[in-house]
Amino acid sequence: MFKKILIPIDLTHAEKLEKAVATGAYLAKMSSIPVVFAAVTSSVPGPVAHTPDEFRAKLDAYAKAQAEKLGIEASGHAMFAHDPAVDLENALLKAIHETGADLVVMQTHIPHLSDHFWPSNGGRIATHSDVSVFLVR
């Protein structure tokens, strides 16, 4: 049904995203399709890595570890934004096209009042993407 699954990942808080990763991995295994873990950061040194090269390496290592742990084919796709706090969705939308993914599996929070004014990242990806989006609460 699908050809490739993209799972957005935040390497700083990867443990909080396990449900989305497990869901994506389950769907990938069922259809024997690859998973790509997309992560967005800035080229300014951050908590995960000091340089873009180091960030790519850590993301690739994460993807490799998940592939072995969950028995899936997985790769990393690093995106660098000038202002990731704002550019996150645009970078992810770009990543969807660059990777050729046709399903996004993404963790999101339970909506509250503020989502009416300031939608969640997942909400905005679902609104603006032309591929299927599976939001995991």
Binding site: V44, H50, T51, D60, A63, H82, D83, A85, D87
Partner: protein
């Protein structure tokens, strides 16, 4: 894992760079929490202490205005008058460091690693650094300074072209005009930009090449080592937040007063606290939209719009003013600057105390107190440039633009003053002293004054917005421990906080006192910058070239 996939959409490798091996993890001291629907990711203790210190200073100033005002003002005067030689020598050192780096092989080092690609085009990059750095000052001092220095300051003892009764002394005109312009360009040329360039280069180098967080403290890693992450570093960062916030808030308060004076001059809108508070709310509101739209969608777009409006106004003044004189005087002003920059940079053996201490030393302290903010912002947008390219673009090009601006605005005003004693600039600068009206006075004596004055007011407001939004981004990054992806609500908080501090000081009084306090931080930061020069050489020496 597929090798093909892992390379898709990723920029070229950044190549070799001398990353510092430290056990410190960016964000390790941060507190992450949820307050209602808002997330927080703040550095402990920099965020809290900075915020509380700012609030405490505002309350103290409001409560003890009569005592605190003279105290801060005396401190500022003591520093800029008593230590004028220190500021002047230091600024010379910064210029020499930058010029040395341009011509030595160290200039080949690329910010962000040998293969890093520039994040921004030349236009976007230049617009951002210029709008954050000094745009607003050019609006107010572009007319005032050339006229004032020619008539009153007597830099290097060059006599005024006016006698005590205000009558013109023709034989003094040529020398006073040239010196007035050279002195103005001295304050807006190589020296201020060298101050910004030193901070920006040090931060960019230690962040993008060495892998340290993008905060002021990182520059001190070669000196403090791992202690940089403790209290020595906390104090430097808190001081940077303090100087930035008070610098911005007091400028915003004064800016609202000046914009209000302009609105009264052009449209007859009376000067009142209400009008000024509305202006601050409007400026803060636009700045908030800009920071929420981010670096590319907000700050850069506004900076570019700003530059385009400024360019149009500049072009108008050149065409509507004495065009021929302005074109020829661009080169003669550049020549006057080149001829006088060394004598003007001498700290000793001069009799022009009023100019040297009241203007030059004050300016250097002022630029230096702004340098953590402007330097950090320039650093953030300068990745991918070589040190040589960076310094030429941050030092030489803005200086040439300043010469052009001062020639057009100041040159036109000087001609108006010298040829017509009833001109409005003469009225606002020579006969009386209303510096906030000097620009509008100059425009009033040119065609289409109501349109150009309105554009000038818009430009003043947008220049404030571009300082306010980039300042909020910088404060947010410092108080988030160098993280640039902290929740958006934090930058909204700092932007609002800055507006509230400005309103409190505007209503309660104390703008002047706290601006004097902010300028006084120029002294400790001068020492910081001198150490940064050492850190730059040490840091560059270890980089692959």
């Amino acid at each position: 894992m597929s090798d093909n996939d892992s390379n898709q959409g990723i920029p070229d490798p950044e190549g070799a760079a001398g990353v510092i091996d430290t056990s410190y993890e960016i964000g390790q001291d941060n507190i992450e929490a949820n307050v209602g629907p808002f997330n927080l990711d703040i550095h402990n203790p920099v965020f809290l202490i900075s915020g509380l210190t700012v609030v405490a200073f505002v309350f103290l100033t409001l409560a003890f205005q009569t005592e605190v005002g003279p105290l801060f003002d005396a401190l500022r005067k003591w520093l800029t008058s008593g230590l004028d030689w220190f500021f002047i020598i230091s600024a010379n050192v910064f210029v020499l460091v930058c010029l040395t780096l341009i011509v030595t092989p160290l200039g080949k080092v690329r910010i962000g690693g040998q293969d890093a690609e520039p994040d921004y085009s030349y236009f976007g990059w230049f617009a951002m650094l210029f709008a954050a750095g000094m745009g607003i000052g050019l609006m107010f001092f572009g007319v005032l300074e050339p006229v004032y220095h020619m008539a009153f300051s007597a830099p290097l003892g060059v006599p005024s072209p006016f006698d005590a009764d205000g009558n013109l002394i023709p034989e003094n005109v040529a020398a006073a005009k040239a010196m007035g312009m050279a002195a103005t360009i001295y304050h807006w040329g190589l020296h201020p930009w060298a101050i910004y360039a030193v901070v920006a280069l040090a931060l960019a180098l230690f962040s993008f090449n060495k892998g340290l967080p993008l905060t002021m403290r990182s520059v001190f890693y070669p000196i403090f080592g791992e202690r940089t992450w403790g209290w020595p570093g906390h104090i430097i960062d808190i001081l940077a937040v303090f100087a930035t916030l008070f610098g911005l808030a007091t400028s915003l308060g004064f800016g609202a007063q000046q914009a209000n004076a302009g609105l009264e001059f052009v449209f007859g809108i009376p000067v009142s606290i209400t009008a000024q508070v509305i202006l601050i709310i409007a400026i803060t509101g636009i700045a908030m939209i800009s920071v929420v739209r981010g670096l590319d969608g907000g700050v850069k777009v506004l900076s570019e719009i700003n530059m385009m409006i400024a360019a149009l106004l500049l072009l108008f003044v050149i065409i509507a003013g004495p065009t021929g004189t302005l074109i020829s005087s661009f080169f003669s002003n550049l020549g006057a600057y080149a001829r006088e920059v060394v004598p003007l940079s001498m700290p000793f053996g001069r009799d022009d105390d009023g100019f040297r201490q009241g203007w030059t030393s004050f300016y250097w302290a002022w630029w230096i107190s702004w340098s953590p903010f402007v330097g950090m912002f320039i650093a953030r947008v300068s990745r991918g440039r070589t040190v040589r390219e960076f310094l030429v673009c941050v030092l030489i090009i803005p200086t040439i633009v300043s010469v052009l601006w001062m020639t057009a605005f100041g040159g036109t005003a000087v001609e108006q003053v010298l040829t017509d004693s009833d001109s409005q600039v003469h009225e606002y600068v020579i006969a009386s002293y209303n510096p906030e009206l000097s620009l509008f006075g100059m425009l009033a004596d040119l065609p289409m004054a109501s349109i150009t004055s309105f554009i000038a007011i818009i430009l003043v407001i947008v220049f404030f917005v571009t300082s306010s939004d980039s300042g909020s981004l910088v404060i947010d990054t410092i108080t988030a421990g160098g993280k640039v992806d902290a929740p958006l609500s934090q930058r909204v908080f700092w932007c609002t906080f800055e507006g509230l501090v400005a309103i409190a000081l505007l209503i309660g009084g104390g703008l002047g006192a706290l601006q004097a306090m902010a300028v006084s931080t120029g002294f400790p930061f001068t020492i910081v910058l001198l150490l940064a020069c050492y850190a730059i050489f040490k840091g560059l020496w270890d980089e692959p070239r």
